[in-house]
């Protein structure tokens, strides 16, 4: 079974379309609603998603792990991480899954830097992402060209090993760290990202570093 996990927070405008498109590429779409204040749940269910609801807003990392728990219970063979805001392209899913299988990898990371389909904002490309790569180097995670890409595919082994404890955006670095810690075979794959909003700025980056530092003390 191939399950898509879609963390969503206030995505009523786009989540329906995302779910509809995903259903022609995966067996099941699980939308994890992170206490949205709009009609995200209604739109997701209307378009055929199975919706898990958080009663408190916890963050994207927590939503993904809730989806993981669900996928583990249903013994999913593969799990796809896919954002609910429509920034990813569903046409990338099948080629990405094929690449994961062909290379016998445990986890596939989407990358915006392996082809020229993505138009990255200038600041993000030359300032924020290089800093992100530097931070990841400090925390000793697997070296990826694209350190903050939410498109991932995990096989069963990776799903068992990768348990996300970082509730908010630091989960991306945590996943890379766990990939290294558990010696999971990984592969990067070119995916397109369409920017509807700017995404994380510098303050988001500082919060990630703060969360990662606290996370080290809690282990």
């Amino acid at each position: 079974m191939f399950i898509a996990i879609v963390p969503a927070y206030n995505e009523e405008k786009r989540v329906g379309g995302v779910v509809k498109n995903l259903l022609s590429h995966v067996d099941k779409v699980v939308v994890v609603d992170d206490k949205s204040l709009d009609n995200t749940i209604f739109e997701a269910e209307k378009n055929g998603a199975f919706v898990l609801k958080h009663n408190i807003n916890l963050g994207q990392g927590a939503a993904l792990e809730t989806g993981h728990e669900y996928a583990r219970k249903f013994e999913a063979d593969y799990v796809l991480h896919f954002d609910g805001d429509g920034q990813f392209v569903v046409d990338d899913i099948v080629p990405a899954l094929n690449r994961l299988k062909e290379t016998n990898s445990d986890i596939l990371f989407g990358s915006r830097f392996l082809d020229d389909r993505t138009n990255l904002p200038f600041l993000k490309k030359y300032f924020i992402l290089p800093i992100g790569r530097f931070v990841n180097k400090i925390f000793g995670v697997v070296p990826l060209k694209d350190s903050q890409n939410g498109f991932r595919i995990l096989n069963k082994k990776a799903l068992e090993k990768i348990v996300i404890t970082q509730n908010r955006m630091a989960h991306a670095t945590e996943i890379m760290g766990l990939t290294k810690e558990h010696n999971l075979k990984f592969v990067e794959f070119p995916v397109q990202v369409i920017y509807h909003e700017y995404g994380q700025g510098m303050s988001g980056g500082f919060k990630i570093v703060r969360d990662l530092i606290w996370g080290k003390f809690l282990k």
């Binding site: 994890v32 199975f50 898990l52 609801k53 958080h54 009663n55 408190i56 916890l58 927590a62 792990e65 809730t66 728990e69 669900y70 219970k73 404890t165 509730n167 606290w214 996370g215 003390f217 809690l218």
Partner: protein
């Protein structure tokens, strides 16, 4: 006279703090390390209030000029440590809360 009154009030306050710490320990709200820390903390404070020169002896031993400077340095270190511990506690609580919300989310769909 006023100083003596202050010392007595502080001693009573310190004694009541130690009793509170002990009661919390009995109710298993405090661990061994935390109990030890708070009892030593209140005893040390009482010692300093009754014998202010004790800080000077320790300051001379360590090589810090004045006893009061030593008290300030130690206080700042203690405050930072407590803030650090509190933050860790809050992060731990956040994780517990996450587990509760997640379990509820998954259970409600059974």
């Amino acid at each position: 006279m006023l100083l003596l009154l202050f010392k007595i009030i502080f001693a009573l306050f310190s004694l009541s703090a130690i009793l509170t710490v002990w009661q919390k320990k009995q109710k298993t709200l405090l661990g061994n390390k935390a109990t030890f820390f708070w009892i030593v903390f209140w005893l040390a404070l009482t010692l300093v209030v009754f014998w202010p020169n004790s800080t000077q002896i320790l300051a001379d031993y360590i090589g810090i000029g004045r006893g009061v400077d030593l008290v300030i340095y130690v206080s700042i270190a203690c405050i930072f440590y407590l803030i650090f511990k509190m933050n860790l506690k809050i992060e731990g609580l956040k994780r517990d809360l996450t587990d509760v919300v997640r379990t509820e989310s998954l259970e409600s769909k059974k």
